[in-house]
Amino acid sequence: MSIDIDTARRVAKLARIRVEEDALPALASEFNAVLGFIEQLSEVDVEGVEPMTSVTPQRLKRRQDGVTDGNMQEKILKNAPDAREGFFAVPKVVE
């Protein structure tokens, strides 16, 4: 599997990381190095093997479905780059 410049551009877009056009060839080549390394996994016979979901076989704890925390709007907004009137503010989303 080889990653071309179009794929690198698409992956950057999916990851929401801006990569300038002139940086794409180097990025594609780095991807190829990493994926070439990962490619070794194709040698492994995994017929009938379950994919791991949890490394320690334990049932997740249950608890009452109730509100246990809250009323901290100010704290939650404290670190926001732009907060107004009790909300996170972002550039216009809907035209």
């Binding site: 992956v11 801006r18 040698e43 490394v55 704290k75 939650i76």
Partner: protein, 495 residues
Amino acid sequence: MSDLNKLTLSAARDGLRAKEFTSADLTEACLTEIEGAGALNAFVHNTPEIAREQAKAADARLAAGDAPAMCGLPIGIKDLFATKGVPTQAASAILEGFKPEYESTITSKLFDAGAVMLGKLNMDEFAMGSSNETSTYGNAVNPWRRGNEETPLTPGGSSGGSSAAVSADLCLAATGTDTGGSIRQPAAFTGIVGIKPTYGRCSRWGVVAFASSLDQAGPMTKSVRDAAIMLEAMCGHDMKDSTSADLPVPNFEALLTGDIRGKKIGIPKEYRLDGTPDEIVKLWDDGAAMLKDAGAEIVDISLPHTKYALPTYYVIAPAEASSNLARYDGVRYGHRATLAAGEGINDMYEKTRAEGFGKEVQRRVMVGTYVLSAGFYDAYYNKARKVRTLIKKDFEDAFAAGVDAILTPATPSPAFGLGEVSDSDPIQMYLNDVFTVTVNLAGLPGISVPTGVSATGLPLGLQLIGKPWEEGDLLNIAHSLEGAAGFVSKPEKWW
């Protein structure tokens, strides 16, 4: 009394109880030492005011006779732990200015036990790296040097600030985190002890997430006894982390009997890699001989899927990272890019993340995005999860055959020079974790113990891998190895 900063946790604890000095004395000694150690770039946010206040409170507790083991002991905290009101950046520019409104479970537990925080420690950005060279704060520097050379060496990574600080006696101990070897490799590179407990032992709540199914916190200390003391204070069930184990936490220190007679120690043949330096092979053989002399039985074992551990890791860890790091979007905290007229919310996300994330973090997020994308999910991500099952089974088979612990080298080499492993070839850097990464994939406890010195005068460590939840047994075996190896060297002060 001078040189209080050089004490181990256990010696300082005993001295405090014997009223030989106060926590305030210990704390001042460390603060002075930190002040003079700028060249190591280990502490990146100092918190002397908090430290002095905590020391005062600890002294009051000690006087009142209400003092847990960690009470009054000054430590450093890796920048990955959320600390209330104190900058917490995971060494990333994207979290510039972030001051959490809450405290991580682990730091809460340590502070409740009376520990004193001296400041936040350098690390690789988002814990992604093995040399502390991806940090937005710049490189942390190893206090050790090769003989008389002045070449600055890496303290390892990602917990490089922690390892440098403990090794240079800037603090008595430090917290670290380990996703693929980030406690054990830096501990080995700096001649200290580092343990990654069983997955689920330490709460991940309030620890900036890298790869959630692999991340575990643990202590980095000057001795195995100290590791036992500090680990006990860090462990325990936490409702806020759904993978946290609801199991009793043993008194680990009480389990350090030094008696390992009859213990079966496995030596995995797959860890004898081509090209491993002779001195590492000798270190390993010597370690096995020491355990044998102490009455353990040494057996050859096979962990057949070892060679697939790193490729598996480099699918799973980036995949989880790409998901975890999606939260850094410039909306709720941290950096937000300045937008030009007409730019919208997608431009904001893309510019913010391009400006805020360093090169290695970007690379891993994008690799993770790729392996999770439609059409590749099965070929890469599911495949890796299946191989991970096989890697874990290798260990289960060894333990089922009666093995109590497994002995391996901690790293394939001593500490290397900063800049010596090229940034353009990420695989070369990834190979640093070849002996440690299997342990994270299998969720097991692993400890790195300094047992020797390289030809160039640098510390070398061995790793012991234990059964799930058997940190007590593992620490006891490590304690025996530590005693037999008698590693006492310290770096000569040049900073």
